[in-house]
Symmetry: D2
Subunit: 118 residues, 4 copies
């Protein structure tokens, strides 16, 4: 399930790494770590905020957090590429799996049991 | 910088959450946590492997890891949506920032200083 | 700053690993990953709860979370040991650093700026 | 299973937070996030290193990493305290559980199956 946007971005990220001789550092194990590190940096912005505060951040803050999200996104694409898996295809499958696992009519109204669903 | 693939996927994920009354749980703070939790699950597959082993995983394992990557990808898109930031635009900017920060001609050959660069 | 409790526990954990030939897997890099994976599992219990809900968990849930905390604690001691650093000494130093960085009289009453402090 | 070292440290950390009016921010959910963020910062030091490199770090680096470990340790004690669980007791139980789950004589020599064990 070739997705042009993802394909092209992955190609650019590969070129970026090759141009810098960085492929040697990008073993899947290491990219997985880097991704988790970025996820931690992303989360740091939220750790002392209430849920309500996290809903109404100013533009600068949202932009700052957005760059962390971009880092996570970039490492996600890189890791998919290094593993040789078709990310858009797996995303499709995962959505289908989730639709079956959490049928809307059954889940709705039992929101307080949300934690048991995911 | 509208990217049709990302836009459509974000729309589907929004509908998925709305159909289940899950929007109430999806404060940015909570999605950031969920993303980090998935990043941890992703990393768990690699923790006791050598870098070399992580380069040569079997198909089943790569698929299993791929689903974790799909989860990270999904939460990344959801969080961008909830924050109201344009993820593809920020990814573009981030790549440009990285190109300037790590000029290929300067970085190459000083690979052992990689850790100082990122 | 020898702390008998920590010393003895670290010794037992070392013996546990040696008895199983696991020292070979316990490079500091890998233990750091394992610790972060456990921190993710710990956090998973809280991701969809409100802060208030997280304050009033039932006994079973608190026990379950407590075991995840124990895992984090165990890997923290193991990593300190593998790095050859004196954890209790560094904890003392860190508390002193924090006391100077966040003087009580200055921090109190400006609670809404908490995020800027940490 | 009162452990004087842990008890006293938890008491000091509680006083530290109270003196700064920080108890209000320290819902278990938030401390769990902060702990995971620190685990990410800890891991960042290792992400591009080989396992061998992580075994032979210089003194400054080990000290720097040690402070991150101290942060993880501090949040672990804080969270146990806020949850009202007896951390040393749970650590004891966890070690016993692991001893039964991974009997030395059975595990040794099947090191390549390590990933299946943990």
């Amino acid at each position: 399930m070739a997705e042009k946007y993802i394909d092209e971005l992955q190609h650019r990220l590969l070129m970026f790494a090759r141009d810098r001789d960085w492929e040697q550092f990008h073993a899947p194990k290491n990219i997985a770590m880097a991704l988790a590190v970025e996820a931690g940096e992303l989360m740091e912005h939220f750790q002392w905020l209430s849920e309500a505060q996290s809903e109404s951040l100013g533009e600068d803050k949202r932009r700052e957090i957005g760059y962390e999200l971009a880092d996570v996104f970039i490492f996600t694409l890189r890791l998919a590429q290094r593993l040789g898996v078709d990310l858009p295809q797996l995303v499709e499958e995962k959505i289908t799996i989730n639709e079956r696992k959490y049928p809307a009519e059954k889940v709705r109204g039992s929101a307080k049991k949300y934690t048991e669903y995911e």
